[in-house]
């Protein structure tokens, strides 16, 4: 099954393929022009982005004019971007082509703008070019993304963003031009895309779908020289009940760049979209009637490493967010193998589900990763965090091992917000070049055992973190076929009285481990029990430091059925 891709939000409102009764939207909108006299406008097939024609105007000399699309007042129109409006939070995606930027007035005089209005006399301009600057736009077809709630570059009359009927482009020229020089193609309104269905080349399929220009020109995803540009949010899966079908979205090796759309206002270029408008959201539903959501990126290597993951790149204009945990169904899976998150400065979270894996993921200059619960984090690197607190937020059921924390200077490497489980154990967490390794916001002092190769040493916060050197004691529990046994009771102690050195259950990898800081112990008791198997017991010494691992093979007890 291929992917099903839809615009999340209003959708296409104009195809710019007919001056009267444009086929987009409800099919009744018309195109018009407001401005200087003597300006011709109409449909042209000389250039277009969508379909085989577009709306054009020819401005030459000292002329100005607004080439607009009138949505009309049919059902769902005009557009309401106001608070609690039907289009609140949505953006306008409009394709514009202007080959004569140099003949326009200055930026300060709104050379080329995206103009929207509740009436032709009540409008707002978002300047996108002038004869003194175009922010790198060469005038070719470009999809501008406009948040109507943004402060406009210029206004006329009193615009009501709760009743937008006129959307288009305006140009003011100062020199002679020949032919049409302002073109508009498809216009859409939405938050972004929703993707369901199944694909092993998910991102490519999404992009190919959006840039199938003869059929659509959805500006939410574009591709330039192999890099995918994302404008708006992407939802993978569906939280309707029940989800219509299983969703399996898999890909690897893509580069997904957060797209930039800017306008000129108050003598500066600024983003024309909301700061939080871009992101990735995984959704699922509690019902498994038709299937759950699986989102995988990259390739699993061994049991806890990854390669060939995609690279997600944010930008300084926006806080790219990643909500990687639908959280409705434990059978849903999110797995990132070798994925790179760079400049993803929005919220990044997972969930309390050991099926979710983050293996070999690089968190670079990004926001704080909040695993929320027991997702498995292995062989990841957290570098140059952009978050003021830390690169990684600890939780009481966190399962993180074999990770590196490098050059985190804006915030700490790890933040400890709780002392409930004090003391905590680090297993092979390597710190280097960080201003602070641990930030204590728990409200009380905590201890951290540096197990294995862990080497945390620097702390800050209202309370202290004491890092203790320890021996890492591990029981690895499998059955006779070598399959890890999850949930086996694992116990280590020197005198069989509380507090015990370890009394826990094995994790998804069949491992129970603890950092022991109380020095060497002779003849400690190591036990593993799980109903269904014969109990395991060995008496073995505990070293003062380093690691000691005892592999355990539990044998089925046929009487424990």
């Amino acid at each position: 099954m291929a992917l099903t891709i839809t615009i999340e939000g209003k959708g296409v409102i104009a195809n710019a393929d007919a001056e009267t009764n444009d086929t987009g939207g409800d099919g009744t909108g018309d195109w018009g022009f407001t401005g200087s006299g003597g300006v011709s406008n109409g449909l042209t097939t000389d250039t277009f982005k969508y379909g085989s024609a577009c709306i054009a105007a020819a401005l030459s000399g000292t002329k100005n004019g607004w080439l607009w699309f009138n949505t009309g007042t049919g059902t769902g129109y005009p557009l309401d971007f106001d608070t609690a409006g039907a289009e609140e939070g949505q953006h306008i995606y409009i394709w514009v082509h202007c080959p004569t930027i140099g003949l326009t007035t200055t930026l300060a005089n709104e050379g080329v703008t995206i103009r929207i209005g509740s009436a032709t006399g009540d409008f707002a301009d978002y300047t996108i070019a002038g004869n003194d600057g175009s922010n790198g736009w060469d005038g070719k077809w470009k999809c501008f993304v406009i948040d109507p709630t943004k402060t406009a570059s210029n206004t006329g009359g009193t615009i009501d963003i709760g009743s937008i009927r006129y959307i288009g482009a305006r140009m003011s020229t100062t020199a002679t031009a020949k032919g049409d020089n302002l073109f508009i193609s498809q216009i859409a309104v939405g938050f972004g895309l929703r993707v369901t269905g199944t694909s092993t080349t998910g991102w490519k399929d999404v992009v190919d779908y959006c840039i199938d220009y003869p059929n659509r020109a959805w500006g939410m995803f574009q591709e330039r020289e192999g890099i995918y540009y994302q404008y708006g949010k992407v939802w993978i899966g569906d939280d309707t009940t029940p989800q219509a079908a299983a969703v399996s979205f898999t890909d690897s090796g893509r580069v997904i760049q957060a797209g930039i759309s800017e306008y000129y206002e108050s003598a500066a270029w600024k983003t024309s979209a909301n700061i939080d408008y871009i992101g990735l959201i995984i959704e699922d539903d509690v019902a498994v009637t038709n299937g759950v959501t699986t989102f995988k990126d990259g390739v699993l290597v061994g049991s806890d490493k990854g390669r060939s993951g995609s690279t997600f790149i944010g930008n300084t204009n926006h806080n790219y967010s990643m909500d990687l945990y639908g959280g409705s169904n434990a059978a849903s899976v999110t797995a990132l193998y070798g994925t790179t998150l760079k400049d993803i400065t929005g919220v990044i979270n997972s969930g309390n589900d050991a099926q979710h894996n983050f293996y070999g993921v690089s968190f670079i200059a990004s926001g704080q990763f909040d695993p929320v619960g027991a997702c498995v984090v292995r062989n990841c690197s957290f570098a140059e965090t952009a978050h003021a607190d830390s690169a990684l937020l600890w939780n009481e059921s966190i399962d993180v091992r074999n990770c590196s924390f490098i050059a985190n200077t804006v915030g700490a490497a790890i933040e400890h917000p709780s002392a409930v489980g004090d003391p905590y154990d680090y297993y092979d967490l390597v710190f280097s070049g960080n201003t602070v390794d641990g930030l204590n916001t728990a409200g009380s002092d905590i201890d951290v055992n540096n197990n294995g190769t862990s080497n945390a040493s620097l702390d800050e916060g209202a309370n202290t973190i004491t890092y203790l050197s320890s021996a890492t004691l591990t029981l690895t529990v499998k059955d006779v076929s070598g399959t890890e046994i999850v949930g086996a009771y694992a116990y280590i102690d020197d005198n069989n009285s509380t507090p015990f050195i370890m009394n826990t259950t094995t994790n998804a990898s069949g491992i129970a481990s603890v950092g022991h800081t109380a020095g060497a112990v002779a003849d400690a008791t190591w036990r593993v029990r799980k109903y269904g198997y014969k109990p395991f017991l060995v008496v073995a010494d505990i070293p003062a430091s380093g690691t000691k691992e005892i592999p355990v093979t539990l044998i089925v007890d046929p009487q424990q059925t």
Binding site: Y489, Y491, N496, N503, R529, P558, Q559
Partner: protein
């Protein structure tokens, strides 16, 4: 049966597992009437395995190990907390190994279960080394129990079928009156599960019942069901006498029936299922003992030599049963009664042990008659077990096996019987004839060998023409004798014969009495061939009766004609 974990308590400090009912006994099957509080040791193990595979118990040593589904072992100093705990488990064995450090170290509780079918309500019971016999804690029917066979290093022993003391040996019995008995040996020393076959069936020769109740209305009561008296006694219905409103019961246990109490019928001995029938004990006495009087039958153990007069001469026997002139059928039921379940104590001691455990006259050597240890009854004939001698019965309808394991059938004892309503006061005389004359020179008197109590003849006494006791005549002089010795040629007499002439003619009539009853009979005569005899009955006032006839293999029974003689006034 199901294991009930909430009935058990784990003491982590003492390292014991204890059933909450141990020592109280309210939940043992014998009291409860069901196995509702007894569960498989497998489930006991699974419960412990669950309890100890838990974070809160990881600091406690593991208590138990399963070796097979039916073999378990205490570990790490864990054991039962009470001596009765094992009574609430079935289905497997458990060991407390040597050196465990517990109070029960080196002990073994083996599993014993029975296979076979028994009559409803049959209580199987166990003998274990005599000295450690335990009252059944189980209920009737097939059993599945744990048995302590090794207690802190000491095996309980029972002699096996060969009479050799066997570690862990036990005997199981099923002996209910009305049914054929059974018993078998089991060796439980290996632990695990140990089957012992026990089968019973109705005994058509044992239907008299132990007692009967006179009830208000016996209608609806059914043979084979159980009657409970309100005072607690429970018995199994052996038969019902409708016209007399009698209900005969076997195997009465649990108390004594009392007058006027309510009687309720159940389909099981444990009184779990009432049939809906009830009445009252309506007799003037609480019950009537059917076996009363049969206790005159005695059993005396000790090597004896007895001659059955069957030509085999005297043979050894191990026990002499004096049937007290009762029939073989009565004797058979009594000999079962003294071996039934519950025959214990001085009253029912058999061969120095409780009768309920008696197996043979030489246990471990003699083949056992499991269905009836002293012997069986087929029709009217009693077939004695090896070494059993029968004497003083109403008849000699038996076949014996002497101590040497040789079958000894009695000779064909026959009698001469005279019947007449006017027989009392007549002289009844029957003797052998030849050529129409009574043979009076059968023997010649040997005065030299005779004494005041011993009458000797010169010829071998013919055992086929001589009653076991009777009268020997020299001429017309009569000398009653109580016994004779054919080879020694002597009669044990009660009148001094030594005044007789040596060499005088001597003979033994087949009958020679003055009738004091309307039926007179001679003592047994061993038949070996027909004898022509004359039967004479005379009394003044009657015409003499003299008729020649034949003593045959069926003996001789005659009814004389006693006609008045009008001249004898």
């Amino acid at each position: 049966m199901a294991f009930v974990s909430t009935d058990w308590t784990i003491d982590y400090a003492l390292k014991t597992v204890t059933n909450d009912d141990s020592g109280t006994g309210n939940n043992i099957p014998f009291v409860l009437g069901t196995y509702a509080k007894v569960g498989p040791i497998l489930e006991f193990f699974q419960w412990l395995a669950t309890e100890f595979a838990n974070s809160s118990q990881m600091d406690d040593t593991y208590p138990i190990e399963s070796q097979t589904p039916t073999v378990y072992k205490w570990l790490n100093g864990w054991t039962f907390g009470h001596a009765d705990d094992f009574k609430y488990l079935d289905g497997g064995s458990i060991e407390d190994p040597v050196g465990s450090g517990t109070a029960t170290a080196d002990s073994l509780w083996s599993n014993l279960y029975t296979i076979g079918s028994q009559e409803v309500g049959t209580q199987i019971y166990m003998s274990q080394a005599d000295t450690v016999e335990a009252a059944p804690w189980w209920i009737s029917g097939n059993i599945d129990i744990l048995v302590l066979v090794k207690d802190t290093g000491v095996w309980t022993q029972s002699d096996d079928t060969g009479g050799i003391a066997a570690n862990g040996g036990i005997w199981l019995f099923a002996r209910e009156m009305g049914d054929l008995f059974d018993h078998n040996f089991g060796d439980l020393s290996g632990g695990g599960r140990n089957p012992v076959g026990i089968n019973t069936a109705p005994d058509s020769s044992n239907k008299s019942g132990d007692l009967y109740l006179t009830v208000a209305d016996e209608t609806g009561f059914t043979v084979g069901s159980f009657v409970e008296g309100a005072a607690g006694a429970v018995g199994k219905i052996a038969k019902i006498d409708g016209p007399n409103n009698y209900i005969y019961l076997n195997a009465v246990r649990g108390g004594t029936f009392v007058i006027s109490e309510a009687l309720t019928e159940y389909s099981d001995r444990e009184l779990q299922t009432a049939t809906g029938q009830s009445t009252t004990n309506d007799g003037s006495t609480a019950f009537t003992d059917v076996v009363a009087g049969r206790d005159a039958i005695t059993d005396v153990f000790g090597l004896i030599s007895r001659d059955l007069n069957n030509g085999a001469g005297a043979q050894n026997y191990d026990v002499e049963i004096n049937a007290a002139t009762l029939s073989m059928a009565f004797m058979y039921e009594w000999l079962k009664y003294i071996c039934r379940y519950g025959s214990t104590g001085a009253t029912y001691t058999v061969d120095t042990d409780d009768g309920q455990e008696y197996r043979s006259a030489d246990e471990g050597t003699y083949s056992e008659v499991k269905v009836a240890p002293f012997g069986t009854l087929a029709g009217t004939t009693f077939y004695g077990a090896r070494g059993v001698w029968i004497t003083n019965g109403a008849d000699s309808d038996f076949v014996l096996i002497d101590a040497g394991n040789v079958e000894q059938s009695p000779p064909n004892y026959q009698k001469v019987i005279a019947n007449h309503t006017d027989l009392v006061g007549t002289y009844v005389f029957v003797a052998e004839i030849s050529g129409g004359l009574i043979i009076k020179d059968q023997y010649t008197y040997d005065d030299g060998s005779s004494t005041a109590i011993l009458l000797a003849v010169n010829e071998v006494i013919d055992i086929n023409k001589t009653p076991q006791s009777g009268v020997v005549r020299i001429g017309d002089n009569k000398y009653p004798y109580s016994a004779y010795d054919s080879v020694a040629k002597t009669f044990d007499v009660s009148v001094d014969p030594t005044a007789e002439t040596d060499g005088a003619d001597t003979y033994v009539p087949l009958m020679d009495v003055l009738a004091d009853t309307i039926t007179e009979q001679s003592d047994d005569i061993i038949y070996n061939g027909d004898i022509n005899v004359r039967t004479s009955v005379r009394e003044y006032g009657f015409k003499p009766y003299d008729v020649d006839t034949t003593f045959t293999s069926a003996g001789l029974s005659f009814n004389p004609i006693l006609a008045d003689d009008p001249q004898a006034t």
